[in-house]
């Protein structure tokens, strides 16, 4: 598969660029929207949770806490949402041209990745504004993005193929995304969770790969984060769980996709 991906890189690029162009060609602010949306969302959440509800965390501004969660989250959520419909919406291409179909969800993820990377630059800009040191671990950022992307790609394979067969998947994905959003430490902090929830829940909670990945982003970005981490975070749930999850998601997703691929032509036209 990796060989196939490399071989078809120009097609993936074309498809990804198509997605982005369709998304940003017409609006006047075009490309800037992908920066404006997460930042403004972060701002809203900051006003709501930090200023009104007095959620706070000690060592670094809450706004940065929100932004480090929201940017990777947007990448995750919007990839999955668009990927779910990626096969279905390209049925005219699939039925008429012979090309590897798995490239469609891959290109969606690629488009969202291209979307995501510049936002990280803006994030670094905010670090300068808030006078926060970016840690030396920042050179591990590509690895973190790789783990994250692998997870997204695997899930995208699964949902895009399943959506063709069962058109309910789209809505299931929506609900799961909402649930997952509140199951990751974005709008609140880990300390607050551990204070209030039962220890068993916290243990299960920490096995959520997204929690691990989010923490990884914070570890590599925020200089002092690694020193002041909540004690629930350990090597297993921050690194091992996400890596294992990503790899197995990738293989399982591809397997599901491969299994269902032959049925597409039957189901696409009904």
């Amino acid at each position: 598969m990796l060989k196939g991906l490399f071989e078809h890189r120009s097609l993936i690029y074309q498809l990804a660029v198509r997605d982005l162009k369709i998304r940003y060609r017409k609006p006047i602010l075009s490309f800037f929207w992908m920066l404006i949306i997460p930042i403004s969302t972060a701002f809203i959440y900051k006003v709501l949770f930090s200023d009104f509800m007095r959620v706070s965390n000690g060592s670094y501004p809450f706004f940065i806490h929100l932004l480090t969660a929201l940017l990777p989250w947007t990448y995750f959520a919007s990839s999955l949402q668009t990927a779910t419909l990626s096969i279905l919406s390209s049925k005219n291409i699939i039925n008429q041209i012979s090309f590897p179909k798995y490239l469609l969800p891959v290109s969606v993820v690629a488009a969202n990745l291209i979307n995501f990377l510049p936002t990280l630059l803006v994030l670094s800009g905010f670090f300068v504004v808030f006078h926060i040191k970016i840690g030396w671990l920042i050179f591990l950022l590509p690895a973190v993005i790789l783990i994250h992307t692998a997870l997204i790609t695997g899930l995208s394979f699964a949902v895009s193929a399943l959506q063709v067969i069962h058109r309910d998947i789209e809505y299931v994905v929506q609900i799961l995304l909402t649930a997952l959003f509140f199951l990751t430490p974005g709008v609140y902090t880990l300390d607050q969770l551990t204070e209030r929830a039962s220890p068993l829940f916290v243990k299960i909670y920490m096995l959520n790969p997204l929690v691990g990945i989010l923490n990884l982003y914070r570890v590599v970005f925020i200089g002092q984060y690694i020193g002041n981490m909540p004690e629930e975070i350990n090597l297993i749930n921050i690194l091992v769980v996400p890596v294992l999850f990503s790899i197995s998601a990738l293989f399982m997703g591809y397997y599901i996709f491969h299994k269902l691929e032959t049925k597409f032509s039957d189901y696409l036209n009904i």
């Binding site: 120009s10 097609l11 074309q14 498809l15 198509r18 162009k21 369709i22 060609r25 017409k26 390209s90 005219n92 291409i93 699939i94 039925n95 008429q96 041209i97 012979s98 090309f99 691929e261 032959t262 032509s265 039957d266 036209n269 009904i270």
Partner: protein
């Protein structure tokens, strides 16, 4: 040296329960529907595409041409068999797939070409050629939405032919754009032929096939009917088309008018003969639920499945199943040759064939059937089981009738299901035609037969409508007995076999006119006679009758054996040929 080899290729489409979307696709297409609700759009397709060969695929709409091309191009997965490709394929099946209206022509070239499998540097290399060939000029930087449909097609075509390929697949789309552009396309295609490229062209244009192609393939109903020189195949295609025309125009010169109607020799029933290159191993009947049985209900759907084993490679064979009533009356005996299927060659191994009847239009009784695998001319069977198998249609026999045809009486009035009470007790076999009895109580005038245009006629086509108009008179003196009186109509084969009879309650005295309609009269070619009578159920005698004085003839476009045409389908799976 072949570029592409198709080995027993088949494609099954699944039908879904909510058939809203499918109904338009299905209607009017006769398909090979199998048990699980799927149908075969293409089956048992074998052929090779050699290097530098131009193949023309002919076939009517819905015969499976596009499915075949889509399968070769790889955009449609196979349900069975394999396609071995040794070369690059370019498919001109749908032009400009994936075109985005909001993108410029330039962007679309990159997008569409990458979808077709071209690399970035290839596209860069051919970009100016593509633009030039498409004659778009400066429009190339305008959004595609502003193009005319002809411009889009031209652009799509130009991109597709600039991909490097060994085999080009096209689907009736050489006719793109205006005449001068078409000329240019044709010239380009001729250029490809000179370069020794292979091509597969699906088309309706017989002139194109004869002029341009080196080999022709004729598809009908998802199967290959013939492969050969373009001339032969075109001739056969035109025959198929004209057959359809005969039916619509009513010309009858080539129609079949006589049918084999009896078992040749009933002493041989239960015997087997054959040269035994192929051996029939098992014959099973399945009912509509897929259960093995030998007893079925009236009008039930049944499937006869014959498993066989071939001991040698066999060419030019066909399958046959013949159904007889226990007294030797030939009910129906279709074979795959009559139905026009070219059967592929069969290798050593095991296989089966199935004959599926939608509705068994036979009256209750005991029937026997034969199963056979024949050689080309039906001279020596490979294996022939003569009436070794019994099939019982359950229910009470209805006075000697053979067939359970659907009919209706037009106009008001009761028409009871023909039971013992109201149906004249008649024999299986009628003799002495021409008897008639008109009394002062009741009398008949000659019958009138009408076709589906309500025109008077005496020749009818198998499977089309037949109406019988019956004028009769009953005197007022019969008024008190009216509730016991029935009008009876019986159809006989010219040799006396009672095929079908039905009754209607007589509602009033005086001059009456009734019309009996068979919406789809499925009698096979030959002569038929009609008898009518006024039956008094109380005293069990006819008040008046006319026996076999009126007659009509059935004709059909296709040869068959027996008495009644039953809608049926063939399915088969023969041992695959293993190459290399």
């Amino acid at each position: 040296m072949h570029v592409i080899r198709l080995n027993n290729v088949g494609r099954k489409f699944h039908q879904f329960i909510n058939a809203d979307g499918l109904s338009e696709k299905e209607s009017g297409l006769k398909r090979h529907v199998v048990k699980d609700g799927a149908f075969w759009a293409l089956r048992n397709v074998y052929f090779n595409i050699e290097a530098a060969e131009i193949i023309g695929i002919l076939g009517r709409n819905g015969s499976g041409k596009s499915t075949l091309l889509n399968i070769i191009s790889g955009s449609l997965p196979l349900s069975e068999g394999e396609v071995v490709v040794k070369g690059k394929i370019s498919a001109l099946l749908t032009l400009g797939a994936g075109f985005q209206d909001e993108f410029t022509g330039r962007e679309n070239i990159y997008l569409n070409a990458s979808l077709l499998g071209m690399k970035k540097n290839e596209i860069d290399k051919y970009f100016s050629d593509i633009v030039e060939f498409s004659e778009l000029g400066d429009f190339i930087n305008a959004p595609l939405g502003s193009y005319s449909s002809g411009m889009k097609m031209r652009l799509g075509f130009s991109i597709a032919i600039h991909k490097e390929f060994d085999v080009l697949l096209t689907d009736e789309i050489i006719a793109v754009g205006d005449i001068s552009f078409q000329k240019k396309c044709f010239e380009r295609m001729t250029g490809f032929r000179r370069q020794g490229k292979s091509m597969v062209i699906a088309t309706q244009d017989t002139a194109l096939v004869e002029r341009f192609c080196s080999r022709g393939i004729l598809l009908e109903d998802g199967r290959i009917v013939s492969i050969g020189t373009p001339k032969e195949v075109v001739e056969q295609y035109e025959m198929i088309l004209s057959k359809k025309k005969i039916l619509s125009e009513g010309a009858r010169s080539q129609m079949v008018s006589e049918t084999k109607r009896w078992a040749t020799d009933m002493h041989e029933w239960g015997k087997r003969e054959g040269t035994r290159e192929v051996i029939i191993k098992e014959v099973v009947i399945f009912n509509k639920n897929g259960r093995k049985t030998s007893k079925v209900k009236r009008k039930e759907k049944i499937t006869i499945r014959v498993s066989f084993k071939s001991c040698e490679k066999v060419d030019d064979f066909h399958f046959g199943v013949a159904l007889f009533r226990e007294d030797g009356v030939y009910c129906y005996g279709p074979n795959s040759q009559f139905d026009g299927f070219a059967t592929p060659r069969m290798a050593k191994g095991e296989g089966y064939f199935e004959l599926e009847y939608d509705e068994l239009l036979l009256m209750p009784g005991t029937y026997y059937f034969s199963a056979a695998i024949w050689d080309k001319n039906e001279t020596f069977a490979y294996d022939y089981h003569k009436c070794n198998y019994c099939l019982e249609v359950m229910g009470e026999p209805v006075f000697g009738q053979l067939l359970n045809l659907s009919y209706r009486w037009e106009g008001p009035g009761l028409w009871p299901f023909p039971g013992k009470k109201c149906l004249p007790a008649l024999d299986y076999l009628a003799d002495k035609w021409g008897g008639h009895l008109n009394t002062s109580e009741a009398s008949f005038t000659p019958l009138i037969f009408l076709n589906n245009y309500s025109c008077k006629n005496s020749i009818f086509i198998t499977g089309k409508e037949l109406k019988v108009k019956i004028d009769y008179k009953i005197s007022e003196s019969q008024e008190p007995f009216l509730k016991n009186l029935f009008l009876w109509v019986g159809i006989y084969r010219s040799d006396g076999i009672y095929c079908h009879g039905c009754v209607k309650k007589i509602s009033s005295c005086g001059s009456n006119c009734e019309i009996l309609a068979y919406p789809k009269l499925r009698l096979l070619p030959g002569g038929y006679r009609v008898s009518v009578g006024i039956w008094d159920a109380n005293s069990a005698k006819f008040l008046a009758y006319s026996h076999g004085i009126n007659s009509f003839n059935m004709i059909s476009e296709k040869r068959d054996h027996g008495t009644v045409y039953l809608d049926h389908r063939w399915n088969w799976q023969v041992p695959k040929e293993r190459e290399d």
